[in-house]
């Protein structure tokens, strides 16, 4: 085979003074980077295979290891960046599409970082969340235009039959990650944490393992183009059903779970033969229009007796506002929008990095459009794609979201180090893998604890920020863009976001 032109991406520094040759790194690396030598007192490293996941660094008991980006190798060039050169070399060698995992890592503007929050001063009092209650409960689902109330009795009675709602104790939901793309233990951590904090997790398109049926009240199940594992009980056990049309990381693209990952348990969950590739087509072959979507929405509503909300998930693309309007009119109780920075287990790199628009702009436009058409209350907005902190959550809510999905943030909470190699199935952190040696590395008891802590910490922070603004319920902030100001954005960007520039006031 001809010599590869690629350089190792990472450099491993082993402090010889500190290394005790305990071989923990050797045992922990699924990429066979470290190797004990015949002479027992040294460990050697093969940098070519290193993906920079930092597992060995984390577990090294003497902190003898550092793994960092390898400097040099490619001659610096403003136009031909390392990413481009690496891509060309790889493709010239392999002749294939470049695959990657997780969300877009290009440095497109992140609008969350250009939005600032308001606080109360003098003219309106701020609230101390430690002394006064602040309400974070949110309800997702269609809201009524008006309520008929019977005032004749002793107490007023609501006569209107309310649409089914999802009750969230915190406006943060774990986003769709299928059992298959993530491990059983990772899914269990999410499901248990969702139940503990009073929110939901999403089954993804891979069906629901029978072990998770008891968690149904906190699970949103997905119906995607592959229809894996979709059957009556699957729809009925869940708290809501989500029809997945698109995904932020790969709008317009289907999915492909390689046969090696289709283990016995996954084949049981997805209802496909063991070791067969699980291919989700790019479109739903029965949905070629809004009218077709409406048919599926109502078919599902029939199947679940109109007892649970039905969501429709679309990727944030150029005409997202018009599409979302159509989706709402098709009967979706919740519209989920996934931005360009949304994660994935596997996607062509060129799609992940170049297709779609940032969620902030999409959210602002969709909210605006639905309001102007007078149909905003027909659906709740759930947004996804690059929510990194409680500040992002609260900014999203002020921009008009009803709640946010977190996927990457949850995985990072579980130990993910964003090495973007989910598609290899060799996740050293036991998250995006089905290898029994690796899946054991994620203890769901620890995973659940970490996720519960994360959501609890975020909810404290959200309460602090709300209190500072003088708002005592998250409902009062929803869509209130007066609480946001933009810094460092152009007039056009401010207009799209519907946010005033910092310094502008009444």
């Amino acid at each position: 085979m001809a010599k590869s032109l690629l350089f190792p991406e990472f450099k491993i520094d082993r402090d010889k003074e500190r290394c005790i040759s305990c071989q923990v790194c050797v045992r922990q690396c699924a990429n066979d980077v470290h190797e004990g030598s015949d002479n027992e007192d040294t460990v050697l490293s093969q940098e070519e295979n290193c993906v920079g996941c930092q597992r060995c660094v984390n577990l090294c008991p003497t902190n003898a290891l550092t793994v960092h980006k390898r400097e040099g190798g490619f001659r610096p060039n403003g136009n031909w960046s390392e990413q481009h050169l690496r891509g060309i070399y790889k493709q010239a060698e392999s002749g294939g599409i470049l695959l990657t995992g997780m969300g877009c890592d290009r440095s497109y503007p992140i609008y969350w970082d250009h939005l600032l929050l308001n606080a109360s001063q003098v003219t309106n009092p701020s609230i101390d969340p430690l002394r006064e209650p602040i309400e974070l409960t949110s309800y997702l689902g269609r809201k009524e235009e008006k309520l008929d109330i019977d005032w004749s009795g002793e107490f007023p009675l609501v006569q209107t039959r309310l649409a089914p709602q999802l009750e969230l104790k915190v406006p943060v939901v774990f986003s769709a990650m299928s059992y298959g793309s993530i491990s059983y233990n990772a899914f269990r951590s999410l499901a248990e944490a969702a139940r503990e904090v009073g929110t939901f997790c999403n089954s993804g398109e891979g069906g629901l393992h029978p072990d998770f049926y008891p968690y149904g009240d906190n699970i949103v199940v997905q119906v995607a183009s592959g229809r894996f594992g979709v059957h009556r009980d699957y729809l009925r056990v869940a708290a809501a059903v989500e029809i997945k049309i698109g995904q932020g990381a790969k709008p317009g693209i289907g999915g492909h779970l390689p046969g090696e990952k289709v283990t016995k348990e996954i084949s049981r969950t997805r209802k496909i033969p063991e070791e067969s590739d699980a291919i989700s087509p790019a479109p739903h072959h029965d949905i070629y229009s809004i009218e077709d979507l409406e048919r599926l929405v109502f078919a599902i509503k029939e199947a679940i007796n109109y007892k649970k909300p039905v969501a429709v998930k679309i990727a944030a693309v150029h005409n997202v506002a018009a599409i979302a309007s159509g989706v709402v009119r098709a009967g979706a109780d919740i519209v989920t929008i996934d931005g360009i920075r949304g994660g994935t287990g596997a996607a062509p790199q060129v799609i992940r990095d170049n297709v779609g628009i940032p969620i902030e702009l999409a959210l602002a436009q969709v909210d605006e459009r639905l309001r102007s058409e007078g149909i905003r209350h027909h659906s709740s907005l759930l947004i996804a794609g690059g929510i990194r902190s409680s500040a992002d959550v609260i900014k999203a809510i002020a921009l008009g979201a009803d709640a946010v999905y977190v996927g990457t943030a949850a995985l990072v909470g579980l130990g993910c180090h964003l090495c973007q190699k989910c598609y290899t199935g060799k996740c050293n952190w036991g998250i995006a893998t089905q290898d029994p040696v690796l899946t054991k590395r994620l203890n769901p008891n620890i995973g659940k604890r970490r996720l519960v802590n994360l959501i609890r910490a975020w909810s404290f922070e959200i309460k602090e920020m709300l209190g500072g603004m003088g708002v005592n319920a998250i409902e009062s902030l929803r869509g209130n863009r007066e609480h946001l100001r933009a810094v460092g954005l152009s007039k056009e960007e401010c207009a799209v976001l519907g946010v005033k520039a910092a310094g502008e006031g009444w």
Partner: protein, 144 residues
Amino acid sequence: MKKIRIQEEFCIGCRLCEINCLVKHSYSGKIIKAFREESPRALPRIRVEEEGYLSFALQCRHCEDAPCVENCMSGAMQRDRETGTVFCDEERCVGCWMCIMSCPLGVIKREQKTRRIASKCDLCGGEGEPVCVAQCPNEALLYE
């Protein structure tokens, strides 16, 4: 009596328990010194057993009818009346290895310090969590 419970489904086979046990029972108690400078190197009293993807860390179970205590001719191997821990009194151990012969789990080792001594899990002196439990990165060992 509190015992170390093994959850083999979460053992990741990293062997950090062995390393930390060794350090705990070394002269210095410091990891780099214990490995690089101390001679003879202390022995870990816990051992990770592996086959395929299964692995678990095994150490003395402190059996109720401990054969090692029964078979110890010098009375070095004994049970702490208060805590129930089976431990080896190093002063009295003569290195006859009868305990090793009789241990059904093979968790007693031959230590060559200044002389031959049987070495086994002492639950880190019975004070608090043993290091193998405290330092297991995946909580595969529980002390309860």
